[in-house]
Symmetry: D2
Subunit: 344 residues, 4 copies
């Protein structure tokens, strides 16, 4: 028996990835697709300019798009995935939750709110307990759960593995793909033969979200991890796959092999979309590379490499597919967790 | 009265840049071009596959290339610029110096030798004093002077400006252009829609050379600066211009403005190829960018931007043209310094 | 004594190129810059997001932008250059000409109108005579003159040289740079590792405009040249420079050398922006290439190469800088021609 | 029961694609991999620098590479696939055939030899009859069969469909991916922000091979088709997928719809690797595009689009994956045909 789901903001870049991942999903059945008023009433195949290199799934091509409004969602939908622009998300997600919906959202609004779980199932599934806090405080029937920013997700599974060695400080430099800015987000005139050493708001998301993800939940609130995180974010001319250079200062003094072991033994979770191994570690110093390695684990694994000790801890590289593990796949995985944990 | 000069390894990528910079140079006259035996005897326009987007200068097109051998260099040449592959440089540069030549070399061999000056004129011109040590120890008549690696040069002028605040540690991530690997060094199949998170030997060059450049010279030897430098080097799909994300830990606690002032007031030197201002600082957080800013100061300036304080010091980005300021122009500038200081 | 000029649509990509070319121009003085109402009243440096890799000229940075309206243009302006979007151009250019202004326009509206001169000064300067027709028919005091589309301009100088051999048919395939679509016209997601084999409206512009440019003017009207032109237009991942593969069927049977001679002897005109040689022909079969050759003649020359005879005539490649010779420079050259011919 | 096969030149770019296609192939079992003497004796995983983005298949990783010499191939191998460099192929392929092997070769040597079948199974399977001629004339026991050049294969299925309308002339412009030149064939310095309007020997291959493929076989020899083919070949910055703009002059006057019908009804063959539909036609004028459409039919289909009539016939675009349908897959398909037809 599959769960009936809808997608809020289904025509955008992440919305299309959600469609791609959810249509063949054995646990979910997509019945509802929302978009802006100008798309409402049109078949999805017409409202969405489909950009993914596999064809638009037959099962959704003829679904009539509805407005992003709780009133417009038909009865029977049990779970909503949201890839709304953050300003729209901030305005309408609470209305959906108030109306009783469980929402797994990729939108950046509210991620740092004290009573909203920000989760990567393999890292901090226990933070889902915040839903009770949320319901108490806001009087909500439904639930709102967030996944972090794509560049944060890429790095945090490796940092989580390092907490056993006393994680104290992180300097991280990102080389991010253009798809992270949405389909039209980066003009070709900006990025051919070029790099842009700044992505608005991105560094601060990495610095705050990672500390919440690594924080501990005592049943009432999440205490941010006290690691000092500093990010420098660059846009580079790759299509998909964020690569990151990380320096992690540790209070202990593990060998590079011990760090590799910690990465490779990162526990996965027994959810449909979770890769068999959360972190794949490469020996070759020139890996991972975005084009070669972004599809590991169907785009849901994190790849790591170049692990070396430093005076203060360890340095290494990590990589994940930014629109799968870093966005749509992250929301789907959170949806699977909500189902597994009985919130739906 | 101009100084008669030759170029060792004149047909390669850096050799061509040397030709481009030296032919119109008011202080130098290029009379001699060396290459491998297979090129010897051929006119330069035929031996070199000219790759620069301005035409091959008439003044050198017909020069007959000679072998890279002191015997083959005609009398009267007073200064040699070397862009030999490092293994060739290691084998033949000492022979030229023994034969009495002054050699300004871009080749990586010998850069860390205790008695070989590794200099950026604006940073550590005083290290030229090592030439006396070198002559004493090796019995040489000539002199051998090196410029650092392109990725090192990009960063060190900014670090030199930070030493006033007590430079303790540097984490640096590089986004390096393909021209740094030579004309055929990076295949298009490797780098289109991709990034390679490793450049063989590059990180260790940055870590050691920068400490020598920032070190103090007491008349007999250079003490390496004790900053702890850790680099992570990436190849990206840009043609020219190395961009670097730097975290510098400082013992003092300057404001971002104070750091910008330190950068902007970095003293230049009064040499022909030195830019008016050594470091240009951008306010806009998305600058410098390789394609837009690599030609600042005719490719001899360092651009900086994104200056922000951190818990431990400061983070910022810097950029320089890797084959001009980072290679050929660096050797030319060292040649100008040698002339100015009376070594020729 | 320089002529006082204004730029209609000065903040866009071609408008910025016009600024770059006109500010240092010895014959013109830029006093007026127009843009959409939202920019009116703001200094140009603020209204335009400057994208060119040389700095914004001081002479225009502080000019206060005015609305694109004849009423808003101050007295004394004698010539207007227009790079308005074609729908805006269609709406407002006639109003400017009615108000007495001479307008040299790059906008595509009206190019094929029977009484509007469409000119490349080196090819069909005599078509300027249509201005009399235009004034008679429309009762205009000013004048409206157009330059062709960037992909048309690249090819037509070579075709003009071939008319002596009886030009009968042209098949042309274009490889066009992303700048031709404006700064944000081509998303990086569309074009990295990709080619788009269609540019809306482009093929038909090449097919009709080229026949008008090559047509003969009898003092009253232009008869289209009867060559059969068929174009196939592709967008490729280059920044600037349109490359075109041309097959030209000829009634005569010239040798490749005769074709090269015809290209090389194409007469230039004695105007400030016209290159010394209109068409530069390369011997090397792999030239011209966009990145290496787009700046020939300061971006105003056409490069050709790969000239070979076929069963039906000749095939060859040609290249021009699309935003200089193909757009802003084309309008400037037409402005110089208007001045030379006494229309201003 | 599967056929035991070997790959000549297994470590190169096409050799790796052959490995990728043949290892999971239900009709073939790969037991033998040859390479140059320096690789002989080493396990394949060590001899080949694996570049494909799926992992090296376990079944071949440990196979010990042997020299490319009939003596070195173990008994029992029934069919050889060759992706040798053409000079090596010319030297050694005849020796293999003399020794009794059946060789399906992608190498360019001998393609136009009168007694060597040059085949695309869907187009001219009957040319296989040349094997009898070949055996008679050369006294060979084995057989040598060739597939055409990648850029030829992309176009010929569409031309074959047009022969019903009286194909008279073809002008074709190609936009070819860098993988067509082998892994290191195009330096990134050559092709970033650039196009190269020449590929050595490519135009003449397209012009001659296509006429042989479309020629008729009378049991003794192949008469070349008399269409006049003229090609212009460009290298562009795409990784895989050759796109071609074609003008085909026809003696009849079909509508665009009739041409589309002819394309879509191109008969396939009932072989394992042949796509369900040989030519997929797009309605959208901006398709096919290399990155979106190169993998149609697992890389074995030809995509077409932009079909429009001209004064002389029709123009359209076509696209195929150059290292699958255009090289390794073409050889595999020929191998399947040889098996089907009883030559093995």
């Amino acid at each position: 028996m599959s769960t009936t789901v809808g997608i809020l903001g289904a025509t955008g870049a992440v919305g299309q990835r959600l469609v791609q991942l959810l249509v063949p999903h054995p646990e979910f059945e997509v019945t509802t697709l929302t978009a802006s008023p100008s798309s409402a009433g049109r078949p999805y195949s017409d409202a969405a300019k489909w950009r993914i290199d596999s064809p638009i799934p037959d099962d959704v091509a003829d679904i009539s798009v509805v407005e992003t409004d709780p009133e417009a969602v038909p009865d029977g939908v049990e779970l909503l995935f949201s890839s709304l622009p953050s300003d729209v998300g901030a305005a309408v997600e609470p209305a959906f939750v108030e109306a009783g919906y469980v929402v797994s959202s990729n939108s950046s609004n509210g991620r740092m709110d004290a009573d909203i779980p920000l989760t990567i199932p393999e890292v901090n599934a226990d933070h889902l307990g915040l839903i009770e806090v949320q319901r108490d405080e806001r009087g909500w029937d439904g639930a709102l759960i967030k996944n972090p920013n794509c560049s944060t997700i890429t790095m945090v599974p490796t940092l989580a593995a390092l907490t056993r060695f006393g994680l104290e400080r992180v300097d991280v430099s990102t080389l991010q793909a253009v798809s992270g800015a949405g389909y039209s987000g980066v003009a070709s005139m900006e990025i051919i033969d070029n790099v842009i050493p700044h992505i608005g708001g991105e560094a601060s998301k990495m610095e705050t979200e990672s500390r919440k993800l690594l924080g501990s939940f005592d049943g009432a609130e999440v205490s941010l991890h006290d690691a000092d995180v500093s990010a420098s974010c660059n846009r580079v001319p790759t299509l998909d796959g964020h690569l990151e250079n990380v320096w992690a200062d540790l209070s202990e003094d593990p060998t590079a092999d011990a760090v590799v072991d910690a990465f490779e033994s990162s526990r996965g979770v027994d959810l449909h979309s979770s890769p068999e191994r959360l972190i794949e570690v490469f020996d070759a110093p020139d890996r991972p590379q975005p084009r070669l390695d972004r599809n590991l684990g169907d785009g849901m694994a994190v790849a790591a490499g170049g692990v070396e000790t430093t005076t203060h801890g360890v340095q290494f590289n990590c990589l994940a597919h930014n629109t799968i593990r870093g966005a749509a796949g992250a929301s789907v995985l959170n949806g699977e967790l909500l189902l597994e944990e009985g919130y739906i």
